[in-house]
Symmetry: C2
Subunit: 342 residues, 2 copies
């Protein structure tokens, strides 16, 4: 057993809070003795939920926070005003090094704003991307950036490529991850101003395995391990992924029930089909890390059930153990003269 | 029977030319007595293909063109130099009003460049978008723009919204089509500079049914009839649609064959499943029109088989009969003082 990993968890965030959040935390500590969860939120509510489970008591503690930030609130204002909200209290635990990581299924905007203003960027990091893992035919790819900050600059995309590469190598375990830039064609002269300016910069990077452009069609086939794009495009890709998969699955279910014979056939094929579709369920892959901060912040789906909460908490262990933060710090500051930093 | 619709067809373009193209043309004229196809390309080759079919001879003629433009060639150069290519010859037929429309499965770049430089924009139209129909849970939506010109301006997106609205109403038959702008959130303050500047302009348009922003997740659910975006984003959406659908279908097939019982079940469910998946096949919906030109130009998939070629040719009939070109001309010039135009 290595060091203890302390994960602050937003007990009040998400559509299924506090029930699924607390349940996920209990499941995580049961499976991983090295995890220490700090459930942040209304203490009485959390304690009541916890009372329903049997678990190693020393692995879960409760940190009281009397306020909540809803998804409808303007993030910047909410984070500034609600000092005693579960998100702000938890992020302060990370800032003060009382927690190694923070996991929330709450307001994405508030988590991103809070991460940036409370935990703060690593020196030298221009922008902190939100980078979910998305399922592909061959495994998973990291889609970076899917955050809220759009209109990115080429230098920021280059940093995304580097941070994404570090994450895929050390957290997911992909050797020499293939890094590609999303574009609408494969030729160097294609694309918008942003990708045309970014391409030559990425080509010059010696520390990543840049494979060139990737068209959106190739993303589900797993043609790159790190898929780099502006947050606007990343958000469109991520949400279309979710929407299209849901639509196709419901269409298929409907089709399978359309005749008596197909219904019987469907019943026979169901277990195999279920397993297949599960491999394409984004919930299986835990949360999306916000990279480049002085600490780890992970955003899970608002609709997260306990399994996703559990996976998001467990994912923090590898991140912390592999010292991703240090690796990003070292890697993104090599461009400056070596003697001024580190 | 109304007027004859003359459609120039690029017999040499696409992965399956000339076989599937000529076959599609034959199928189109057999089904629609009002269609006159002009097969453009190497005459001897086309005549040899045609010899295999029985069809109303007066409905198909051949126009010789000795050159071909491949997908690997730089479009601007190819269109300029290859004056006797099937694409350039066919586009000149449209320009000279010897054809009402042009259908090609060949180089998208050459078709777009040729459309713009030979057939030319309607006066007042700033940019001519490529607008495919994409399948949704409830029917089809028009995705506008998926062309090659990126970094669009707000005024161009407004024109896309208007042209798309006209197309969906008069060609597809959707009453009061819902027009939405692709964004990464629903709130007015979200998004990149482009969508934030476009939103207020669309809100002011009295002649379209603008319903606000649409997140990519909602596109497959059919939440809008006209989905407006910059060509970069449109291209990403279109290609991800194709890639993800293909991946999911292959995953499902693989899953269905994973056990003996599921294989039997799958065989029973196959016809129903096939029907369902067919409704999500972009090939069913013919080609993508390039809107805003002085004539109709339709681009079909490079991989088009005869059914898609046939559908693309037949789609020209409604476009011409409904006088879409005139409607676009009238609608997009109403912003100028009425007396200066028309």
């Amino acid at each position: 057993m290595g060091r203890t990993i302390r994960v602050a968890v937003d007990a009040m965030g998400g559509d299924n809070a506090p029930f699924e959040i607390v349940k996920g935390a209990v499941e995580a500590v049961k499976e991983s003795p090295e995890i220490q969860v700090l459930l942040v939120g209304k203490e009485a509510v959390i304690r009541k939920e916890l009372a329903a489970y049997t678990y190693p008591k020393e692995q879960i503690s409760v940190v009281n926070a009397t306020e909540e930030i809803s998804c409808e609130e303007a993030p910047v204002v909410a984070v500034k005003k609600k000092k005693d909200s579960s998100i702000v209290v938890a992020l302060n635990l990370v800032k003060e090094k009382k927690a190694d990581a923070f996991v929330s299924a709450g307001s994405t905007g508030a988590v991103l704003v809070g991460g940036l203003t409370i935990v703060k960027r690593i020196r030298g990091v221009e922008r902190t991307p939100l980078a979910p893992l998305i399922p592909t035919e061959t495994g998973v790819s990291l889609l970076i950036d899917c955050g809220a900050n759009v209109d990115a600059k080429p230098s920021q995309l280059v940093q995304f490529a580097k941070m994404g590469s570090i994450y895929m190598k050390h957290v997911v375990g992909v050797e020499n991850p293939r890094v590609a830039l999303v574009n609408i064609g494969m030729e160097e002269e294609k694309g918008n101003l942003l990708v045309k300016s970014t391409y030559p910069l990425l080509k010059e990077c010696k520390d990543i395995n840049f494979t060139g452009f990737i068209e959106a069609r190739e993303i589900p086939h797993g043609a790159a391990d790190v898929v780099v794009c502006d947050a606007f495009v990343g958000n469109v890709i991520l949400k279309l992924y979710e929407g299209l998969a849901a639509t196709l699955v419901s269409k298929i279910k409907e089709g399978l029930k359309s005749t008596a014979i197909s219904t019987i056939g469907a019943a026979m094929a169901k277990p195999a089909l279920k397993k297949t579709l599960k491999s394409f369920d984004t919930a299986e892959y835990g949360g999306a890390p916000m990279l480049g901060l002085n600490g780890l912040v992970v955003k899970t789906h608002g609709s997260a059930k306990s399994v996703e909460v559990k996976n998001s908490i467990k994912q923090c262990v590898t991140f912390v153990e592999q010292e991703i933060e240090t690796k990003i710090r070292e890697n993104l500051t090599t461009e400056e003269p070596a003697e001024t930093e580190q």
